[in-house]
């Protein structure tokens, strides 16, 4: 089912006839299992990038037996080129709070946390006030749930859910071994739902508009819409909510400057799509999934520099605990430098590609596993720029 580019207004919509709080009141009257069924039916998948079905995540956590459970909103938006959660936090925080509260009601949690990247602390002043009001409102209504902010400290890897828990627990932000998964043992080793900011807002909105209307948007594999952070060589950078399933060509027709040679879809850890593949590339889980970052590069950009920047970023932001990621990232970075300088032959790029295959299957977490995405897509499509 081919879609075309369509702008949507769900996330930021302000419906005067039905406030988020009204959605909350209504939803808390419904049986929890019914809410889960709605979410599963809606086909909503996590908007952080990994795309796990949200309804199932809530269901698994609900099914765990534990006195203590947690809801965590992952607002550690650290992927280079992604800035949509900041906007959501700033403009519609109540929709996040409501999503968390609904989740808490469904799974049986009494505490929720918003883990927000340290760089967004400037938002805290206004957010804290809104959160205090919201918490007070919950208390007044007799809802046994409170939400707290936790500030991140600047490590990219802490956006990885298990590293985020470690960080929240006051430890080094290092990913854990899995299993166990968060639904079984997350924050403080208790069953935990951890959702991206945008995902939580969609849960609120699905409770508001019903799964049917949500399902009308998108494709079979990628239901609904998504907020995109558009940056780079575009005359109209910014935040846009678009229906999922569009070809990249549609996107560039709307946002390009007429000279785009590549789009990095999904941030530094995503895929680089060259101009010749724009028409064949679908944005969605059947094509290239994305956490929302769309970076446009025109012909004035050196793709060597782009890749070099990404590799520098990963070399610095790897937590450093596992070998494939810690050493692999350094080898990739130094490797393309050596090829550029002529210290290594162009064929060395093949050795490095094989290394990314190992990193993809042997690194401990998504960070190391995904470094091969930008590496291979840039090296394959812009080999001459890497070598010469």
């Amino acid at each position: 089912m081919e879609k075309t580019l369509k702008k949507v207004d769900i996330i930021f919509e302000i419906d005067k006839s039905c406030s988020p709080l009204a959605v909350l009141d209504r939803t808390l009257q419904r049986p929890a299992d019914e809410i889960i069924l709605d979410l599963i039916d809606s086909g909503l998948k996590g908007r952080g990038g990994a795309g796990f079905p949200t309804g199932l995540k809530w269901k698994f956590t609900r099914n765990e037996t534990s006195d203590v459970k947690y809801v965590i909103c992952n607002a550690d938006e650290g992927e280079p080129g992604t800035f949509k959660d900041r906007e959501i936090l700033d403009r519609v925080p109540e929709k996040i709070f409501v999503g968390m509260t609904i989740c808490a009601y469904v799974i049986g949690a009494r505490e929720g946390y918003i883990y927000m990247r340290g760089e967004y602390n400037f938002l805290l002043k206004s957010l804290q006030k809104k959160l205090d009001d919201f918490n007070a409102m919950l208390t007044e209504k007799g809802v046994d749930f409170q939400i707290y902010f936790k500030s991140g400290s600047g490590a990219y890897v802490c956006g990885e859910e298990s590293a985020l828990f470690e960080s929240m627990e006051g430890k080094r932000g290092e990913p854990r071994n899995k299993p166990p998964y968060p639904t079984v043992a997350g924050y403080n080793n208790k069953p935990t739902v951890i959702n991206n900011v945008e995902t939580l807002v969609y849960t609120t909105m699905i409770c508001h508009m019903g799964p049917e209307r949500f399902k009308e948007l998108g494709t079979t594999d990628s239901r609904g819409s998504k907020v995109f952070s558009v940056s780079g060589d575009t005359p109209i950078p910014g935040i846009y909510e678009l229906e999922l399933g569009m070809p990249l060509q549609d996107f560039i027709n709307e946002f390009g400057d007429g000279d785009a040679k590549a789009i990095q879809v999904g941030g530094a850890s995503g895929h680089c799509v060259p101009r010749k593949k724009f028409s064949d590339t679908i944005i969605g889980f059947e094509g290239i999934p994305t956490g929302g970052s769309m970076m446009v590069f025109n012909s004035s950009r050196s793709m060597y520099n782009v890749l070099h920047d990404y590799l520098e970023f990963f070399t610095e932001e790897s937590c450093g605990q596992c070998t494939p990621c810690r050493v692999g990232c350094q080898q990739l970075l130094k490797g393309i430098e050596a090829v550029k300088k002529g210290d290594k032959p162009p064929a060395y790029l093949n050795d490095l590609k094989k290394l990314t295959a190992t990193m993809k299957i042997a690194a401990k977490c998504g960070l190391g596993q995904s470094v091969g995405n930008p590496f291979n897509s840039i090296v394959d499509n812009f080999k001459e720029e890497i070598i010469y």
Binding site: G320, Q321, T323, R326, K344, K354, L355, T358, K364
Partner: protein, 597 residues
């Protein structure tokens, strides 16, 4: 309740194992060896080196077998093409950031990375050399431990050891990404942080990143120096472990062969720390009884109970850093090593007519903290540094190899006399609970005139590998001069490993205990698990060494310290009696509070 059984296949061989078993453990049951580096039987699972990855059919990712529990119907391949390529890559990556200067490395031949590299015959270096010049600057600030970051593979075994087993956390991970490394608080040198020099990190370091500061050359030079009279003393726990570094299975008692080897190496006299252990019991046992009398009869409120043993220099430094308000609880007795040194350069030097300044005292210790201890300024009561050099069990094994001695073929020999006679009570100093048992054997007999009421003198309640042990001995029918102890329940406790020590100290601090006497050893299992003992270490190996120690005890003719004839002699001829003025001068010491940062 028996656990649920999980059925799986490893390399097409079916196996059923208990729920919760890891793939690695299951594979070992089928005798499939999977290489590991960050995994250690004493430590929590890290899953960070990734060399143990295996393929699980149907899974996109390889699984770290050390960290992945089995599941029903799982099909695992430990040596598929995917696994081999990935594992080789990972070893190549580790080597690319490793200063592979193997021939110059102290761990040459004992390095787990070297072993894997040799198995995979990593030839031509595929990847770029990432070793940073600045990482090659070693931290040589500590008299006991040398840290070389250029050899570090970031497995974090040392970090987990220091935190989980020892509760010290002197080592930690700093920075991230390519800058990540193992360091100390504020990156200070090891001698300026809370490091207790216990060396447990060395025992678990898979490479040469953490090693003991070795004094092999200094000792050879002393032996070759004709103007020096070099005496050597051997700690109780070395004789049950030395063989492990010389192709003998763990648990073998090699006392006689060790003595023979030391004589062949050229030491002028081969003597026994066990003699000093007996001496320690006389002093410490008397000190305990004296403290009890002061507390119970004289109602002297300045007397601190429970009294705590002071044999373990790692424990002493730990206490000085972490519980400096409890230093008065420590027995003032020096450790056996230092009592030996002080007596050797006074009483013994006099006896054999050698000037103290011409005597070199070398210790063979299961311990790295002893290297620190012998350099403490308090340890110069003979007028000279009482003990000159401390070698670990491992260093001795190296000297034996260097000298071309075929250890296995050596005839057993006896220690020289004097300062060579010892008892079963002394040898059990090497196991957790041993000092307590030795002290009780003597103290009970002093007080009651009878042997301790345990079959064959074996005080079972204080033995074993439990982290914290407690026992109560009822004192009955005492001699008239000890009437104040009649009917008293003597409460004792034992901890080994500093993590357990901390647990026990916290309990004491909270006033939840009524102990009279506590034995603490800094290392797991006591000295037999010391930081200077042969590598590897594991619960099984330590148990075997413990069995050997207790068997050594049973084979001794004399098994109570106060019956050692050389001890009787030294009091008669030299010291007078326990806690005499001279004893205080030579055999006792004091402690100093140290900061935590």
């Amino acid at each position: 309740m028996s656990k649920y059984q999980v059925n799986l296949k490893i390399n097409n061989m079916p196996i059923a194992v208990e729920e919760g078993t890891t793939i690695l453990e299951a594979a070992r049951k089928l005798n499939f060896r999977i290489p590991t580096l960050c995994h250690h039987p004493d430590l929590s699972v890290a899953g960070n080196c990734r060399v143990c990855v295996v393929e699980v059919k149907g899974a996109k990712l390889l699984a770290a077998s050390c960290a992945t529990p089995v599941s029903e119907g799982m099909e695992v391949l430990t040596n598929s093409e995917k696994v081999r390529i990935a594992r080789k890559h990972i070893v190549e990556l580790l080597l690319s950031e490793h200063n592979a200067d193997c021939t110059k490395c102290f761990k040459n031949g004992h390095c787990e990375l070297q072993e894997i590299a040799s198995e995979y015959r990593i030839g031509e270096h595929v990847f770029l050399d990432l070793v940073r010049p600045e990482s090659k600057i070693q931290d040589i600030s500590s008299p006991a431990i040398i840290k070389d970051d250029s050899k570090c593979i970031r497995c974090q075994r040392c970090v987990r050891t220091c935190e989980e087993i020892q509760g010290v956390a002197a080592l930690g991970v700093i920075n991230k990404g390519d800058q990540q490394r193992i360091s100390t608080f504020l990156n200070k040198p090891l001698n300026e942080v809370v490091c207790t020099n216990c060396g447990q990190c060395i025992n678990r370091c898979p490479t040469g990143a953490l090693t003991e500061r070795n004094y092999i050359e200094e000792v050879w030079n002393a032996i070759y120096d004709p103007s020096k009279f070099v005496v050597v003393q051997t700690a109780p726990a070395t004789r049950v472990a030395l063989g492990e570094d010389l192709d003998i299975d763990p648990g073998a008692r090699v006392t006689g062969k060790m003595v023979s080897a030391l004589k062949k190496l050229g030491f002028n006299k081969v003597l026994d720390t066990d003699f000093a252990a007996d001496l320690t019991i006389m002093e410490e046992g008397t000190e305990l009884l004296t403290r009890l009398k002061k507390a119970l009869v004289d109602k002297d409120e300045t007397v601190r109970l429970p009294m705590m043993t002071s044999c373990s220099p790692g424990w002493i430094k730990f206490q000085e850093h972490m519980f400096s308000d409890m230093l008065d609880n420590l027995s003032t007795c020096k450790s056996p090593q230092q009592m030996f040194g002080a007596v050797a350069k006074t009483y013994y030097a006099d006896k054999i007519n050698i000037k103290a300044q011409d005597m070199i005292v070398v210790s063979i210790m299961p311990c790295t903290a002893k290297k620190f201890e012998c350099e403490r300024p308090e340890m110069r009561d003979s007028g000279y540094q009482d003990v000159d050099y401390v070698l670990t069990t491992r260093e001795l094994a190296m000297m034996i190899k260097q000298a071309g001695i075929d250890f296995n073929k050596l005839e057993e020999e006896h220690y020289d006399s004097i300062l060579g006679e010892s008892t079963g009570a002394a040898v059990i100093f090497g196991a957790t609970g041993g000092v307590m048992e030795a002290a009780l054997r003597t103290a009970y007999e002093i007080v009651t005139g009878r042997e301790v009421p345990f079959t064959n003198l074996n005080i079972q309640p204080v033995r074993g590998m439990e982290g914290v042990k407690e026992a109560t001995i009822k004192i009955k029918n005492v001699k008239p001069e000890w009437a104040f102890l009649e009917g008293v329940d003597l409460n004792v406790a034992i901890a080994h490993g500093l993590g357990n020590a901390r647990f026990l100290m916290d309990k004491v601090n909270r006033g939840e205990t009524n102990y009279h006497f506590i034995e603490i050893m800094g290392c797991p299992g006591g000295c037999l698990g010391g930081g200077g003992q042969p590598i590897p270490t594991s619960p099984e190996i330590r148990q075997k060494r413990a069995n050997a120690i207790y068997s050594e005890d049973e084979h001794m003719t004399i098994r109570k310290s106060h019956e050692n004839p050389e001890i009787t002699e030294i009091y008669k001829q030299f010291l007078g009696q326990p806690l005499s003025h001279l004893s205080h001068e030579l055999l006792h010491t004091h402690y100093k509070p140290r900061k935590r940062y």
